[in-house]
Symmetry: D3
């Protein structure tokens, strides 16, 4: 049973991060896996958590970029680097996050994350 | 062979994050392990990387808190939560970083990180 | 804004896993960190996800024991081994899950998980 | 020096999980790496451990699916999702294991695991 | 059913690494968890794998120290640093392995591993 | 501001590991990400750390192969397996490192690493 207000907030926040089409594409994909799982993603993750006040969306995304590069989860890292740009982060800010990651998780994760950033930069130049 | 300018920059940046005594304590400890390793830490990590312009030290620390909680490296997380406070992060901002971590790395890492935050809050109340 | 029905389901499922006092203790602890975070834990994690039909709670707990031992998150592993017993798993079943883990994540994680199991067995004998 | 009884048990259990051709293909591949390594895999992993009584093969596979999705080892996850189906797990059961993983290891690992499940479902429909 | 030859080889190799008392202590502990698991450990891990020719035991231990520090599994790292000394590694060699780890897995895992090395050095001075 | 002596040492050591063209290719790629980051890589990682005396380059590479296979970072593992061969490791020695990894990090990481080794062997036969 969907909570319509949370769902709408989730769609709004998700669309700011991924773009409206990108976010609806993600939600449709998760609905194919499991309808309720998609609702948790929209309502709980985006509608409740990522819309919380107390930290701006740009800083949230930079922190997520840090965490995802640290874990080496490169598929989602790509979406979140795109998302960081969408909510106002500059290439310099994202670069700085990735540069300092080599101190905390080592060169391999750092360089792999830059490969992902370079792919996103390539998309953006088109 | 020490690069005195980088070394001094490293001591400055390290002292902003850990407090002067805290940072010198860390450096002394690493010197016991290996003298050159301590120099790399001061010159390269703190003197070169963490003093780079392009991202403010508070956002750097929030990103590091995100990465260290994601990896579950709780000893250093404690130092970095202290450091985030030292460079101007608020309890709310740190809380927000940790809250959203449950989305990306799951509840266990998130709750363990809050245990660490609570220990730091306890220290600060004294 | 709490969803009372989900909250109640979450308390019920959480109490089955952790025992009522254990679960309320966990919820109170998380409320100290952040009131809303505790609500997400009760409503979303326990009320929505862990109460889903389609897989019995015992198998759910055995899978969680597998995942937590694989990740080496030993604090929560202890709670979940206790939880697995509470929802009907036998010592043999938990042992079998941990034994086979050495194939998938290596001996160190496997032996550390057995140390945790032994601590829980010790508690239970008292 | 091969232990023929363990080797035969290993082939039997491996064939239940991977299908006979799939399992022999794996064993042949590992023999190319190192002949003895292939024997350890058949005798020790499959012949000794996975044939132990005390936990049915379906629950074993669900636990392995949980652990492999938690670790993000997607190549082997695919084999083990196939294997879970082969030893009697339903799509619903596997879905439930993956859904609850987002609580323990976060959304990225969960969604990546569903991508793998979807690929296996696609194979099975052919 | 124990393979006596492998078991004896395992005891020999394990005793070289851990010392005879240390190794028997480990085996007794694992027997408490599960009798057969202890046999796999002695026969398969120590009797088959770690006794293989083709790489000397000192290099094997240095590689294991690298892997265990990379993973942050500090309980076993301690045993293996002791073991590396027992099979002839020098403090310099172990230090070099840990120093270079900061490049591959970051400073936190490196410094935590040095804490473990320092504890072992302390034991050895007694 | 580049330290020319460290930079030259870094190029020398890097060229021993990756071959001159391979190493310059890596450095050029990292320069595209960030010019200073490339200097840290050459001066700090290769010029300072990997050129330290106290452990021969072959043993260093075998330890790195162990760590990278343990972490499942397969892109860099490939470079480092090539590098291990370049500094004198034999196929047998690398095989032994990877074989024993299944004990410490489980079969999945071990078998994935052998896939990488097999790709490198294929290149070398050409």
């Amino acid at each position: 049973m969907r909570d319509e207000q949370l769902y709408k907030q989730g769609l709004d926040t998700g669309s700011k991060i991924y773009g409206k089409d990108g976010y609806l594409g993600l939600v449709r994909r998760v609905e194919r896996y499991d309808r309720d799982l998609a609702d948790y993603l929209v309502e709980n993750a985006f509608g409740q958590v990522l819309t919380r006040p107390g930290l701006d969306l740009k800083t949230r995304m930079l922190c997520n970029v840090a965490a995802l590069s640290a874990l080496g989860i490169e598929t989602l890292l790509k979406s979140y680097i795109r998302g960081a740009f969408n909510v106002g982060a500059s290439e310099t800010e994202i670069t700085e996050v990735l540069v300092q990651m080599h101190l905390y998780v080592g060169w391999p994760r750092c360089l792999n994350a830059f490969t992902v950033l370079e792919e996103v930069m390539e998309e953006r130049r088109k």
